[in-house]
């Protein structure tokens, strides 16, 4: 059933998929979304913020499904997906670092660490599946 040839990549993608599902549900629930905002240094979200957090939650679900699709196809068919997701997660990691720096009070660094790990994960998958263009960071 799983067609992706590289086992470490399957493990990494499985973990990223679970992280995506976890964050999707967190952003989709009002109570959990409020808790997330408060603990990461943001203000208590209003109805409009909740709506947009929910939208981000659905995007996370899309990413999780995309990962599952990538695991069920040979690496050669998922190259562009890996490249795109490595870029998206890199931008997300930069934003998370920036937001952490400017936050007044932070109760947990878990989202920041998770975002960085997701980027590293996608970068490793991209390299292991030979989807990397050029040789930058080839040691990954």
């Amino acid at each position: 059933m799983i067609k992706l040839e590289d086992r470490p990549s399957v493990i990494i993608l499985s973990i990223i998929t679970f992280i995506a599902i976890f964050y999707a549900f967190m952003f989709l629930g009002d109570n959990t979304a409020s808790a997330f905002m408060e603990r990461t240094g943001g203000s208590t979200p209003n109805e409009g913020t909740m709506f947009f957090m929910g939208t981000v939650g659905f995007i996370y679900i899309g990413i999780a499904i995309g990962n599952v699709m990538a695991m069920m196809a040979p690496a050669s068919q998922s190259m562009v997906f890996f490249r795109a997701m490595a870029l998206v997660s890199f931008i997300a990691a930069l934003r998370a670092i920036g937001n952490t720096i400017i936050a007044d009070e932070i109760l947990t660094y878990a989202p920041l660490i998770a975002t960085i790990l997701v980027y590293v994960g996608y970068a490793v998958v991209m390299s292991r599946c030979k989807a990397r263009i050029g040789t930058h960071f080839g040691w990954l």
């Binding site: 059933m1 679970f18 599902i21 976890f22 999707a24 549900f25 629930g29 959990t32 808790a35 878990a110």
Partner: protein, 271 residues
Amino acid sequence: MFKTDDRLVQICLGICYFIAAMYAMINFFNPDYLIDRYGTLDATDTNRFFLGWYGMMNFGFVAGLIYMGYKGLDRAFFTYAVPLAILFLIWGVSGQMAADESDQNYTAVGFFVIQLIAIIVARARAFGMNFDFTKADNMWGTSDKLCQTILWLGLATQAFFVVGYFINPSQLITDTPGLELNEVSQRFATGVMYFSIAWTIALLYQLRTGYSMSLIVTGLITSIMFFAVFLNFAAAGLTSAGGEMNTLLVSAIIGNFVGSLILFFRLQGNH
């Protein structure tokens, strides 16, 4: 689709997919939509909790249907789907009959009837009316001892929940912090027990005829969703009240998640 040329089977399972997916999305993502439309449902966290639970079970059902869509029809899936459809029709009708006439809403019951007819027609057209219980070469259809053990544990857990319900029907509600015991929540708990009956039947069938990958996928998706929601509740500090939590439910969620993952990754290579 479903590795069959029979259009009727495809249409019937398409209808099942539509109904299950619709209720999965409404229950899980927008329970207030149902709460607004049913006079018996108040906007309480207890009702949202159970509607979310049903939504996750429906997502698992949808995943199993999608798996069958790609890999072909599977008898074992129907041993789960048919009892479930029958039990939920009973559940829906008894629930509405117990409500005041002004609060009655038979929309869901109508969908349950369509679902039951569609699933039975698909089963009858695909496999005829014969019931095949051919014994597999090994117990659970695999020689993998770890998988066999996990499947035994799954069967024991589901059977344990069903027996536990009949000993104390309100235990799930009273043991879970934040849930309120009332007539409606008790009816939801009965529905949860119906899911366990359907799983027990499906697992007994697999014990004899061999495991079914479509049901493993069904269980996997359900257990991943339950575990992710549990972690979310834990992160938001919602799993316990006054230091108390439903340890049995938490153990079942974690055990289900780990067991399903092991089953899927150890058995998927054969499919």
